[in-house]
Protein backbone atom coordinates (compact mmCIF):
# COMPACT_ATOMS: atom_id res chain seq x y z
CA UNK A 1 0.00 0.00 0.00
CA UNK A 2 1.21 3.52 -0.79
CA UNK A 3 1.01 6.43 1.63
CA UNK A 4 -0.39 8.78 -1.01
CA UNK A 5 -3.54 10.82 -0.53
CA UNK A 6 -6.13 10.82 -3.32
CA UNK A 7 -8.86 13.41 -3.82
CA UNK A 8 -11.82 12.98 -6.16
CA UNK A 9 -12.32 16.25 -8.01
CA UNK A 10 -16.02 17.00 -8.25
CA UNK A 11 -17.34 18.92 -11.18
CA UNK A 12 -20.66 19.52 -12.77
CA UNK A 13 -21.52 21.13 -16.09
CA UNK A 14 -17.96 22.26 -16.68
CA UNK A 15 -17.30 23.73 -13.26
CA UNK A 16 -15.17 22.38 -10.45
CA UNK A 17 -17.14 22.32 -7.21
CA UNK A 18 -15.73 24.29 -4.29
CA UNK A 19 -15.60 21.21 -2.05
CA UNK A 20 -12.83 19.87 -4.33
CA UNK A 21 -10.48 22.65 -3.22
CA UNK A 22 -11.44 22.13 0.42
CA UNK A 23 -10.49 18.47 0.03
CA UNK A 24 -7.21 19.38 -1.66
CA UNK A 25 -6.36 21.58 1.32
CA UNK A 26 -7.21 18.75 3.71
CA UNK A 27 -5.33 16.29 1.50
CA UNK A 28 -2.24 18.50 1.59
CA UNK A 29 -2.29 18.34 5.39
CA UNK A 30 -2.57 14.55 5.34
CA UNK A 31 0.17 14.20 2.73
CA UNK A 32 2.39 16.23 5.06
CA UNK A 33 1.60 13.96 7.99
CA UNK A 34 2.26 10.81 5.99
CA UNK A 35 5.22 12.21 4.08
CA UNK A 36 3.57 11.35 0.78
CA UNK A 37 2.18 12.84 -2.39
CA UNK A 38 -1.20 14.39 -3.06
CA UNK A 39 -3.07 13.06 -6.09
CA UNK A 40 -6.18 14.56 -7.61
CA UNK A 41 -8.47 12.31 -9.66
CA UNK A 42 -10.39 13.94 -12.46
CA UNK A 43 -12.96 11.83 -14.26
CA UNK A 44 -14.45 13.47 -17.31
CA UNK A 45 -14.63 13.75 -21.04
CA UNK A 46 -12.38 16.28 -22.74
CA UNK A 47 -12.17 17.98 -19.38
CA UNK A 48 -8.42 18.38 -18.81
CA UNK A 49 -9.01 22.13 -18.80
CA UNK A 50 -10.66 21.83 -15.40
CA UNK A 51 -7.36 20.87 -13.81
CA UNK A 52 -5.52 24.19 -14.20
CA UNK A 53 -5.85 25.57 -10.68
CA UNK A 54 -5.80 22.29 -8.80
CA UNK A 55 -3.20 22.29 -6.04
CA UNK A 56 -1.96 18.68 -6.18
CA UNK A 57 1.35 17.00 -6.87
CA UNK A 58 -0.18 14.96 -9.62
CA UNK A 59 -3.50 14.70 -11.36
CA UNK A 60 -4.81 11.39 -12.64
CA UNK A 61 -6.95 12.14 -15.62
CA UNK A 62 -9.46 9.57 -16.84
CA UNK A 63 -11.16 10.41 -20.09
CA UNK A 64 -14.28 8.65 -21.35
CA UNK A 65 -17.57 9.81 -22.90
CA UNK A 66 -19.46 7.96 -20.16
CA UNK A 67 -17.72 10.15 -17.58
CA UNK A 68 -18.79 13.44 -19.14
CA UNK A 69 -21.25 14.02 -16.32
CA UNK A 70 -21.47 12.24 -13.00
CA UNK A 71 -23.11 8.85 -13.14
CA UNK A 72 -22.74 6.61 -10.12
CA UNK A 73 -22.18 3.32 -11.93
CA UNK A 74 -19.51 4.64 -14.32
CA UNK A 75 -17.73 6.40 -11.46
CA UNK A 76 -17.88 3.28 -9.28
CA UNK A 77 -16.27 1.11 -11.95
CA UNK A 78 -13.56 3.67 -12.62
CA UNK A 79 -12.74 4.51 -9.01
CA UNK A 80 -12.55 0.89 -7.88
CA UNK A 81 -10.06 0.31 -10.71
CA UNK A 82 -7.90 3.24 -9.63
CA UNK A 83 -7.99 2.34 -5.93
CA UNK A 84 -7.18 -1.30 -6.61
CA UNK A 85 -4.19 -0.44 -8.75
CA UNK A 86 -2.85 2.52 -6.70
CA UNK A 87 -3.73 1.40 -3.16
CA UNK A 88 -3.71 4.92 -1.67
CA UNK A 89 -3.50 5.65 2.04
CA UNK A 90 -6.58 7.86 1.98
CA UNK A 91 -9.25 8.73 -0.59
CA UNK A 92 -11.27 11.89 -0.03
CA UNK A 93 -14.75 12.39 -1.47
CA UNK A 94 -17.13 15.29 -0.95
CA UNK A 95 -20.00 14.66 1.41
CA UNK A 96 -22.08 15.90 -1.49
CA UNK A 97 -24.57 14.87 -4.12
CA UNK A 98 -21.63 13.31 -5.98
CA UNK A 99 -19.25 12.02 -3.31
CA UNK A 100 -21.91 10.59 -1.00
CA UNK A 101 -23.47 8.63 -3.86
CA UNK A 102 -20.23 6.86 -4.56
CA UNK A 103 -18.15 6.51 -1.37
CA UNK A 104 -20.39 3.96 0.36
CA UNK A 105 -20.50 1.80 -2.74
CA UNK A 106 -16.69 1.83 -3.11
CA UNK A 107 -16.38 0.95 0.56
CA UNK A 108 -18.61 -2.12 0.24
CA UNK A 109 -17.20 -3.17 -3.12
CA UNK A 110 -13.57 -3.09 -1.97
CA UNK A 111 -14.08 -3.84 1.73
CA UNK A 112 -12.53 -0.54 2.86
CA UNK A 113 -13.36 1.58 5.91
CA UNK A 114 -15.41 4.71 5.32
CA UNK A 115 -15.89 7.70 7.63
CA UNK A 116 -18.39 10.35 6.55
CA UNK A 117 -18.99 14.04 7.25
CA UNK A 118 -15.36 14.69 8.13
CA UNK A 119 -14.80 18.37 8.91
CA UNK A 120 -11.08 18.39 9.60
CA UNK A 121 -8.05 16.28 10.52
CA UNK A 122 -6.13 16.75 13.75
CA UNK A 123 -2.41 17.43 13.61
CA UNK A 124 -1.73 13.75 14.28
CA UNK A 125 -4.01 12.74 11.43
CA UNK A 126 -7.20 11.74 13.21
CA UNK A 127 -10.44 12.51 11.42
CA UNK A 128 -13.11 14.60 13.13
CA UNK A 129 -16.65 14.17 11.81
CA UNK A 130 -19.81 16.02 12.68
CA UNK A 131 -23.00 14.07 13.30
CA UNK A 132 -26.46 14.60 14.76
CA UNK A 133 -27.14 17.87 13.01
CA UNK A 134 -23.72 19.23 13.94
CA UNK A 135 -24.33 18.80 17.66
CA UNK A 136 -21.88 15.93 18.18
CA UNK A 137 -18.36 15.40 16.87
CA UNK A 138 -16.79 11.98 16.42
CA UNK A 139 -13.02 11.64 16.34
CA UNK A 140 -11.28 8.53 15.11
CA UNK A 141 -8.21 6.88 13.68
CA UNK A 142 -7.66 6.09 10.06
CA UNK A 143 -7.63 2.33 9.67
CA UNK A 144 -4.48 0.51 8.66
CA UNK A 145 -5.69 -0.15 5.13
CA UNK A 146 -6.91 2.38 2.58
CA UNK A 147 -9.41 4.68 4.29
CA UNK A 148 -12.23 6.45 2.49
CA UNK A 149 -13.67 9.68 3.84
CA UNK A 150 -16.38 12.08 2.77
CA UNK A 151 -15.75 15.70 3.68
CA UNK A 152 -17.97 18.61 4.62
CA UNK A 153 -16.80 22.19 4.10
CA UNK A 154 -15.87 24.48 6.96
CA UNK A 155 -12.55 23.05 8.12
CA UNK A 156 -10.33 24.37 5.33
CA UNK A 157 -10.26 27.42 3.11
CA UNK A 158 -10.88 26.55 -0.55
CA UNK A 159 -8.11 28.99 -1.62
CA UNK A 160 -5.61 26.66 0.03
CA UNK A 161 -6.56 23.99 -2.49
CA UNK A 162 -5.91 26.27 -5.45
CA UNK A 163 -2.62 26.86 -7.20
CA UNK A 164 -1.27 28.99 -10.02
CA UNK A 165 0.82 26.05 -11.18
CA UNK A 166 -1.15 23.32 -12.90
CA UNK A 167 -0.45 19.83 -11.58
CA UNK A 168 1.45 17.19 -13.51
CA UNK A 169 -1.11 15.25 -15.49
CA UNK A 170 -0.93 11.48 -15.65
CA UNK A 171 -3.46 9.70 -17.85
CA UNK A 172 -5.16 6.63 -16.48
CA UNK A 173 -7.01 4.36 -18.88
CA UNK A 174 -10.61 3.87 -17.96
CA UNK A 175 -11.98 0.38 -17.45
CA UNK A 176 -14.55 -0.98 -19.89
CA UNK A 177 -17.61 1.17 -19.37
CA UNK A 178 -20.30 -0.81 -21.18
CA UNK A 179 -23.81 -1.75 -20.21
CA UNK A 180 -24.12 1.22 -17.92
CA UNK A 181 -27.48 1.54 -16.24
CA UNK A 182 -27.57 5.21 -15.30
CA UNK A 183 -27.98 7.79 -18.06
CA UNK A 184 -28.07 11.54 -17.80
CA UNK A 185 -31.01 12.80 -19.81
CA UNK A 186 -30.75 16.53 -19.23
CA UNK A 187 -30.05 19.25 -16.73
CA UNK A 188 -32.89 21.45 -15.64
CA UNK A 189 -31.63 24.90 -14.67
CA UNK A 190 -33.36 26.76 -11.85
CA UNK A 191 -36.11 29.09 -12.99
CA UNK A 192 -33.99 31.85 -14.41
CA UNK A 193 -36.57 34.58 -14.00
CA UNK A 194 -36.05 34.51 -10.27
CA UNK A 195 -33.32 36.31 -8.36
CA UNK A 196 -29.97 34.55 -8.04
CA UNK A 197 -29.46 34.50 -4.28
CA UNK A 198 -25.81 33.48 -4.64
CA UNK A 199 -25.15 36.94 -6.04
CA UNK A 200 -27.09 38.96 -3.47
CA UNK A 201 -25.22 40.90 -0.82
CA UNK A 202 -27.95 40.96 1.82
CA UNK A 203 -29.94 37.84 2.57
CA UNK A 204 -32.74 37.32 5.05
CA UNK A 205 -33.05 33.59 5.49
CA UNK A 206 -35.94 31.84 7.19
CA UNK A 207 -36.12 28.39 8.75
CA UNK A 208 -38.57 26.19 10.58
CA UNK A 209 -38.80 28.82 13.34
CA UNK A 210 -40.85 31.09 11.09
CA UNK A 211 -43.72 28.68 11.79
CA UNK A 212 -46.21 29.75 9.15
CA UNK A 213 -46.20 30.91 5.57
CA UNK A 214 -47.95 34.00 6.71
CA UNK A 215 -45.01 34.98 8.90
CA UNK A 216 -42.80 35.21 5.81
CA UNK A 217 -44.16 38.73 5.60
CA UNK A 218 -41.92 39.65 8.54
CA UNK A 219 -38.86 38.50 6.63
CA UNK A 220 -40.07 40.31 3.50
CA UNK A 221 -40.45 43.52 5.47
CA UNK A 222 -36.93 43.30 6.81
CA UNK A 223 -35.61 42.43 3.35
CA UNK A 224 -37.37 45.41 1.80
CA UNK A 225 -36.05 47.68 4.45
CA UNK A 226 -32.45 46.52 4.06
CA UNK A 227 -32.61 46.14 0.30
CA UNK A 228 -32.07 42.41 0.61
CA UNK A 229 -33.73 39.24 -0.55
CA UNK A 230 -35.56 36.47 1.31
CA UNK A 231 -34.28 32.93 1.10
CA UNK A 232 -34.87 29.83 3.20
CA UNK A 233 -33.66 26.53 4.54
CA UNK A 234 -35.01 23.18 3.40
CA UNK A 235 -38.13 22.80 5.60
CA UNK A 236 -39.56 26.09 4.35
CA UNK A 237 -38.93 25.21 0.70
CA UNK A 238 -40.41 21.72 1.19
CA UNK A 239 -43.62 23.35 2.37
CA UNK A 240 -43.76 25.20 -0.93
CA UNK A 241 -43.68 28.59 0.78
CA UNK A 242 -40.82 29.84 -1.41
CA UNK A 243 -39.56 28.60 -4.80
CA UNK A 244 -36.59 26.21 -4.88
CA UNK A 245 -34.47 29.00 -6.36
CA UNK A 246 -34.43 30.48 -2.85
CA UNK A 247 -33.10 27.36 -1.18
CA UNK A 248 -29.85 27.81 0.74
CA UNK A 249 -28.17 24.51 1.53
CA UNK A 250 -26.44 21.45 0.27
CA UNK A 251 -28.79 20.91 -2.64
CA UNK A 252 -29.66 24.56 -2.96
CA UNK A 253 -27.40 27.52 -3.41
CA UNK A 254 -24.19 28.32 -1.65
CA UNK A 255 -24.28 31.99 -0.77
CA UNK A 256 -21.69 34.59 0.17
CA UNK A 257 -23.47 37.81 1.06
CA UNK A 258 -22.07 40.65 3.12
CA UNK A 259 -24.76 40.07 5.70
CA UNK A 260 -26.74 36.87 6.21
CA UNK A 261 -29.57 37.09 8.71
CA UNK A 262 -30.82 33.68 9.83
CA UNK A 263 -34.33 33.81 11.28
CA UNK A 264 -35.34 30.70 13.19
CA UNK A 265 -32.70 28.54 11.51
CA UNK A 266 -31.15 25.89 13.75
CA UNK A 267 -28.10 25.42 11.57
CA UNK A 268 -28.08 21.85 10.31
CA UNK A 269 -24.77 21.03 8.58
CA UNK A 270 -26.47 20.91 5.17
CA UNK A 271 -27.44 24.52 5.68
CA UNK A 272 -24.29 25.71 7.41
CA UNK A 273 -22.00 24.46 4.66
CA UNK A 274 -23.77 26.72 2.20
CA UNK A 275 -23.38 29.93 4.21
CA UNK A 276 -19.82 29.77 5.47
CA UNK A 277 -18.79 32.15 2.70
CA UNK A 278 -20.89 34.93 4.25
CA UNK A 279 -19.00 37.92 5.62
CA UNK A 280 -21.27 38.41 8.62
CA UNK A 281 -23.88 35.99 9.90
CA UNK A 282 -26.53 37.21 12.32
CA UNK A 283 -28.51 34.40 13.93
CA UNK A 284 -31.84 34.96 15.64
CA UNK A 285 -33.05 31.82 17.37
CA UNK A 286 -34.72 31.19 20.73
CA UNK A 287 -32.78 27.97 21.24
CA UNK A 288 -29.48 28.90 22.90
CA UNK A 289 -28.02 25.54 21.85
CA UNK A 290 -28.81 25.95 18.15
CA UNK A 291 -25.64 25.07 16.18
CA UNK A 292 -26.14 28.19 14.04
CA UNK A 293 -24.65 30.19 16.95
CA UNK A 294 -21.39 28.30 16.54
CA UNK A 295 -20.78 29.80 13.14
CA UNK A 296 -22.62 33.11 13.41
CA UNK A 297 -20.80 36.37 14.00
CA UNK A 298 -23.62 37.77 16.08
CA UNK A 299 -26.46 35.96 17.75
CA UNK A 300 -29.51 36.71 19.82
CA UNK A 301 -31.92 34.43 21.61
CA UNK A 302 -34.74 36.90 21.48
CA UNK A 303 -37.95 35.83 19.77
CA UNK A 304 -37.88 36.89 16.15
CA UNK A 305 -41.56 37.75 16.40
CA UNK A 306 -40.74 40.37 19.03
CA UNK A 307 -37.69 41.69 17.26
CA UNK A 308 -38.34 42.08 13.56
CA UNK A 309 -40.95 44.84 13.60
CA UNK A 310 -38.80 46.91 15.98
CA UNK A 311 -35.75 46.25 13.85
CA UNK A 312 -37.50 47.34 10.66
CA UNK A 313 -38.59 50.56 12.35
CA UNK A 314 -35.06 51.28 13.53
CA UNK A 315 -33.56 50.52 10.14
CA UNK A 316 -36.02 52.89 8.51
CA UNK A 317 -35.20 55.57 11.08
CA UNK A 318 -31.47 55.09 10.54
CA UNK A 319 -31.91 55.37 6.78
CA UNK A 320 -33.89 58.56 7.09
CA UNK A 321 -31.48 60.28 9.49
Amino acid sequence: MSQDIYVLIEHNQGQVAEISYVMLAAGRQLAGIHGSQLFAMLLGYQAQGLSLDIAADKLLYIDHPALKEFAQDAYLLTLTEIIKSRQPRVVLFGNTTIGSDIAGAVSIALGLDLASSCRYFTSDGKFVSQICGGKIMAEGNLSSGTTLLTMVPGGYKPEEGQSEHPPVIENFSPPVLDNLRIKNIKFIQPESFDIDISKESILISVGRGIQTRDNLELAENLANSLGGVVCASRPVIDQGWLPTTRLVGKSGKHVKPKVYIALGISGAPEHVEAITGSETIIAINTDPKAPIFDIATYGTETDLFDLIDVLVEKVEAAKAS
Partner: protein, 258 residues
Protein backbone atom coordinates in the same frame (compact mmCIF):
# COMPACT_ATOMS: atom_id res chain seq x y z
CA UNK B 1 -43.77 -3.78 -9.69
CA UNK B 2 -42.46 -4.12 -6.20
CA UNK B 3 -40.86 -1.36 -4.11
CA UNK B 4 -39.00 -1.92 -0.88
CA UNK B 5 -38.52 1.07 1.41
CA UNK B 6 -35.80 0.81 4.02
CA UNK B 7 -36.47 2.95 7.08
CA UNK B 8 -34.49 3.50 10.25
CA UNK B 9 -34.85 5.45 13.45
CA UNK B 10 -32.34 8.12 14.44
CA UNK B 11 -31.75 10.24 17.54
CA UNK B 12 -34.37 12.98 17.92
CA UNK B 13 -32.48 16.24 18.07
CA UNK B 14 -35.23 17.86 20.15
CA UNK B 15 -33.57 16.28 23.18
CA UNK B 16 -30.12 17.29 24.25
CA UNK B 17 -27.61 14.72 23.15
CA UNK B 18 -24.89 13.60 25.51
CA UNK B 19 -21.96 11.27 25.12
CA UNK B 20 -21.83 7.95 26.92
CA UNK B 21 -19.36 7.85 29.88
CA UNK B 22 -17.25 5.50 27.75
CA UNK B 23 -16.73 8.48 25.48
CA UNK B 24 -17.14 6.82 22.10
CA UNK B 25 -20.90 6.55 21.61
CA UNK B 26 -24.04 8.54 22.35
CA UNK B 27 -25.59 8.15 25.78
CA UNK B 28 -28.80 6.26 25.13
CA UNK B 29 -30.38 6.74 28.57
CA UNK B 30 -32.51 9.68 27.46
CA UNK B 31 -32.18 9.15 23.75
CA UNK B 32 -35.47 9.51 21.97
CA UNK B 33 -35.66 7.87 18.58
CA UNK B 34 -37.58 9.25 15.65
CA UNK B 35 -38.03 8.16 12.05
CA UNK B 36 -35.22 9.55 9.91
CA UNK B 37 -37.02 12.38 8.14
CA UNK B 38 -35.58 11.45 4.73
CA UNK B 39 -36.85 7.89 5.22
CA UNK B 40 -40.26 9.40 5.91
CA UNK B 41 -40.00 11.08 2.51
CA UNK B 42 -38.96 7.75 0.97
CA UNK B 43 -42.12 6.12 2.34
CA UNK B 44 -44.20 8.98 0.96
CA UNK B 45 -42.56 8.69 -2.46
CA UNK B 46 -43.27 4.95 -2.53
CA UNK B 47 -46.92 5.52 -1.62
CA UNK B 48 -47.23 8.20 -4.33
CA UNK B 49 -45.82 5.71 -6.85
CA UNK B 50 -48.26 3.09 -5.62
CA UNK B 51 -51.15 5.48 -6.15
CA UNK B 52 -50.03 6.18 -9.71
CA UNK B 53 -48.95 2.75 -10.86
CA UNK B 54 -50.35 0.20 -8.39
CA UNK B 55 -47.02 -1.10 -7.25
CA UNK B 56 -46.59 -3.23 -4.16
CA UNK B 57 -44.89 -1.40 -1.27
CA UNK B 58 -42.92 -3.23 1.43
CA UNK B 59 -41.42 -1.25 4.30
CA UNK B 60 -38.49 -2.73 6.24
CA UNK B 61 -37.01 -1.35 9.44
CA UNK B 62 -34.56 -2.63 12.03
CA UNK B 63 -35.91 -3.02 15.54
CA UNK B 64 -35.36 0.19 17.48
CA UNK B 65 -37.50 1.60 20.27
CA UNK B 66 -40.63 2.99 18.61
CA UNK B 67 -40.28 1.09 15.34
CA UNK B 68 -43.68 -0.62 15.59
CA UNK B 69 -45.46 2.70 15.44
CA UNK B 70 -43.35 3.79 12.49
CA UNK B 71 -44.20 0.58 10.62
CA UNK B 72 -47.91 0.71 11.44
CA UNK B 73 -48.00 4.35 10.34
CA UNK B 74 -46.43 3.35 7.01
CA UNK B 75 -49.05 0.66 6.73
CA UNK B 76 -51.83 3.14 7.44
CA UNK B 77 -50.45 5.31 4.66
CA UNK B 78 -50.74 2.41 2.24
CA UNK B 79 -47.78 0.05 2.60
CA UNK B 80 -48.76 -3.53 1.74
CA UNK B 81 -46.29 -5.31 3.96
CA UNK B 82 -44.24 -4.25 6.99
CA UNK B 83 -41.15 -6.10 8.13
CA UNK B 84 -39.21 -5.65 11.35
CA UNK B 85 -35.67 -6.94 11.44
CA UNK B 86 -34.82 -8.17 14.92
CA UNK B 87 -31.47 -8.73 16.54
CA UNK B 88 -28.94 -6.95 18.71
CA UNK B 89 -28.47 -3.50 17.21
CA UNK B 90 -26.68 -1.93 20.16
CA UNK B 91 -23.54 -1.31 18.12
CA UNK B 92 -24.98 -1.48 14.64
CA UNK B 93 -23.56 0.58 11.80
CA UNK B 94 -24.64 1.28 8.24
CA UNK B 95 -22.22 -1.21 6.74
CA UNK B 96 -23.61 -4.06 8.82
CA UNK B 97 -27.18 -2.91 8.24
CA UNK B 98 -26.66 -2.65 4.50
CA UNK B 99 -25.31 -6.20 4.28
CA UNK B 100 -28.06 -7.60 6.47
CA UNK B 101 -30.87 -5.75 4.71
CA UNK B 102 -29.45 -6.68 1.31
CA UNK B 103 -29.72 -10.36 2.23
CA UNK B 104 -33.45 -9.83 2.90
CA UNK B 105 -33.98 -7.74 -0.19
CA UNK B 106 -32.41 -10.43 -2.37
CA UNK B 107 -35.21 -12.74 -1.25
CA UNK B 108 -37.93 -10.15 -1.90
CA UNK B 109 -36.53 -9.25 -5.35
CA UNK B 110 -38.01 -5.78 -5.65
CA UNK B 111 -37.73 -3.65 -8.78
CA UNK B 112 -36.84 -0.60 -6.75
CA UNK B 113 -35.44 0.12 -3.30
CA UNK B 114 -36.02 3.55 -1.76
CA UNK B 115 -34.39 4.91 1.35
CA UNK B 116 -33.59 8.31 2.84
CA UNK B 117 -30.55 9.93 1.26
CA UNK B 118 -28.89 10.38 4.65
CA UNK B 119 -29.49 10.16 8.38
CA UNK B 120 -28.24 12.39 11.17
CA UNK B 121 -26.25 9.60 12.84
CA UNK B 122 -24.42 8.35 9.75
CA UNK B 123 -20.74 7.98 10.61
CA UNK B 124 -19.78 5.41 8.00
CA UNK B 125 -21.54 6.94 5.01
CA UNK B 126 -25.21 6.82 4.18
CA UNK B 127 -26.89 3.48 3.83
CA UNK B 128 -28.24 3.77 0.28
CA UNK B 129 -25.02 3.45 -1.75
CA UNK B 130 -23.77 0.65 0.54
CA UNK B 131 -27.03 -1.21 0.07
CA UNK B 132 -26.83 -0.76 -3.69
CA UNK B 133 -23.28 -2.11 -3.74
CA UNK B 134 -24.30 -5.16 -1.70
CA UNK B 135 -27.06 -5.79 -4.24
CA UNK B 136 -24.76 -4.98 -7.15
CA UNK B 137 -27.27 -2.38 -8.32
CA UNK B 138 -26.88 1.23 -9.43
CA UNK B 139 -27.62 4.02 -6.96
CA UNK B 140 -28.82 7.57 -7.39
CA UNK B 141 -29.07 9.81 -4.33
CA UNK B 142 -30.54 13.26 -3.60
CA UNK B 143 -33.63 12.31 -5.55
CA UNK B 144 -36.68 14.56 -5.38
CA UNK B 145 -38.93 13.00 -7.99
CA UNK B 146 -39.47 9.52 -9.46
CA UNK B 147 -41.47 8.24 -12.40
CA UNK B 148 -41.62 4.57 -13.34
CA UNK B 149 -41.71 3.39 -16.96
CA UNK B 150 -41.46 -0.34 -17.74
CA UNK B 151 -38.06 -1.38 -16.40
CA UNK B 152 -36.76 2.16 -16.02
CA UNK B 153 -37.00 4.83 -13.38
CA UNK B 154 -36.80 8.45 -14.45
CA UNK B 155 -35.53 10.47 -11.52
CA UNK B 156 -34.78 14.05 -10.64
CA UNK B 157 -31.46 14.32 -8.85
CA UNK B 158 -30.68 17.56 -7.07
CA UNK B 159 -27.35 19.28 -7.55
CA UNK B 160 -26.10 22.37 -5.75
CA UNK B 161 -27.33 25.66 -7.10
CA UNK B 162 -30.87 24.47 -7.68
CA UNK B 163 -29.79 22.50 -10.76
CA UNK B 164 -31.67 19.28 -11.30
CA UNK B 165 -30.40 16.39 -13.39
CA UNK B 166 -32.98 14.20 -15.01
CA UNK B 167 -31.62 10.67 -15.18
CA UNK B 168 -32.85 7.31 -16.28
CA UNK B 169 -31.90 4.18 -14.37
CA UNK B 170 -32.44 0.66 -15.54
CA UNK B 171 -34.16 -1.32 -12.79
CA UNK B 172 -33.57 -2.90 -10.36
CA UNK B 173 -31.94 0.02 -8.57
CA UNK B 174 -31.61 1.81 -5.26
CA UNK B 175 -32.57 5.47 -4.81
CA UNK B 176 -31.68 7.81 -1.97
CA UNK B 177 -34.63 10.12 -1.45
CA UNK B 178 -34.02 13.74 -0.56
CA UNK B 179 -37.65 14.84 -0.76
CA UNK B 180 -40.87 13.19 -1.91
CA UNK B 181 -42.88 15.00 -4.55
CA UNK B 182 -45.12 16.21 -1.76
CA UNK B 183 -44.50 16.45 2.00
CA UNK B 184 -45.27 13.26 3.95
CA UNK B 185 -49.01 12.99 4.57
CA UNK B 186 -50.78 12.91 7.89
CA UNK B 187 -52.49 9.78 9.11
CA UNK B 188 -55.07 10.05 11.84
CA UNK B 189 -54.16 8.26 15.05
CA UNK B 190 -57.41 6.31 14.85
CA UNK B 191 -56.36 4.98 11.46
CA UNK B 192 -53.00 3.85 12.84
CA UNK B 193 -54.74 2.25 15.81
CA UNK B 194 -57.08 0.45 13.42
CA UNK B 195 -54.12 -0.83 11.44
CA UNK B 196 -52.49 -2.05 14.66
CA UNK B 197 -55.51 -4.27 15.20
CA UNK B 198 -55.81 -5.58 11.67
CA UNK B 199 -52.23 -5.83 10.37
CA UNK B 200 -49.22 -7.79 11.39
CA UNK B 201 -45.60 -6.87 11.53
CA UNK B 202 -43.57 -9.57 9.90
CA UNK B 203 -40.64 -10.16 12.27
CA UNK B 204 -37.48 -11.47 10.72
CA UNK B 205 -34.41 -12.19 12.83
CA UNK B 206 -31.14 -11.04 11.37
CA UNK B 207 -28.24 -13.40 11.13
CA UNK B 208 -24.76 -12.59 12.30
CA UNK B 209 -23.92 -8.95 11.67
CA UNK B 210 -20.75 -7.99 9.85
CA UNK B 211 -19.66 -4.60 11.21
CA UNK B 212 -16.53 -4.24 9.09
CA UNK B 213 -16.05 -1.02 7.18
CA UNK B 214 -16.91 1.13 10.17
CA UNK B 215 -14.09 3.42 11.22
CA UNK B 216 -12.61 3.29 14.70
CA UNK B 217 -14.11 6.12 16.77
CA UNK B 218 -11.83 6.99 19.67
CA UNK B 219 -13.69 9.95 21.09
CA UNK B 220 -17.08 11.58 20.82
CA UNK B 221 -17.82 15.05 22.15
CA UNK B 222 -20.34 17.85 21.97
CA UNK B 223 -19.54 20.43 19.32
CA UNK B 224 -17.06 22.96 20.60
CA UNK B 225 -18.44 26.40 21.08
CA UNK B 226 -15.10 28.17 20.96
CA UNK B 227 -16.05 29.98 17.81
CA UNK B 228 -19.37 31.00 19.30
CA UNK B 229 -21.26 34.04 18.08
CA UNK B 230 -21.11 37.27 20.05
CA UNK B 231 -24.47 37.12 21.79
CA UNK B 232 -26.56 40.26 21.89
CA UNK B 233 -28.88 40.47 24.87
CA UNK B 234 -31.41 42.96 26.16
CA UNK B 235 -34.86 44.12 25.17
CA UNK B 236 -35.92 43.85 21.51
CA UNK B 237 -35.34 47.58 21.37
CA UNK B 238 -31.75 47.34 22.56
CA UNK B 239 -31.03 44.37 20.33
CA UNK B 240 -32.43 46.19 17.31
CA UNK B 241 -30.19 49.21 18.10
CA UNK B 242 -27.13 47.00 18.23
CA UNK B 243 -28.04 45.30 14.96
CA UNK B 244 -28.56 48.64 13.25
CA UNK B 245 -25.06 49.65 14.30
CA UNK B 246 -23.76 46.36 12.86
CA UNK B 247 -25.54 47.19 9.58
CA UNK B 248 -23.90 50.62 9.63
CA UNK B 249 -20.44 49.14 10.24
CA UNK B 250 -20.99 46.82 7.31
CA UNK B 251 -22.09 49.75 5.19
CA UNK B 252 -25.31 48.17 4.08
CA UNK B 253 -27.67 50.92 5.18
CA UNK B 254 -28.52 53.06 2.22
CA UNK B 255 -29.91 56.47 3.04
CA UNK B 256 -33.31 57.16 1.64
CA UNK B 257 -33.26 60.25 -0.51
CA UNK B 258 -36.06 62.52 0.42
Amino acid sequence: MKIVVFVKLVPDLVEELTVDPGGTTLDTTWLRMIINEFDDHAVEQAILLKEKTSTQVIVIAPDFDGVDEVLFTACAKGADQIIKLTGDFSSINNHALARAVASRIKILQPDLVLTGVQANNDIDGSIGPALAACLNQPFVGYVSGVTLEDNTAIVQKEYPGGVIAEMSITLPAVLGIQAAEQPPRYVAVSKVRQVMKTSNIDEQPLDELDNSGFPEVTRMFQSETSAHAEMITGSPDEIADRLVSVFKEKGILQRTNR
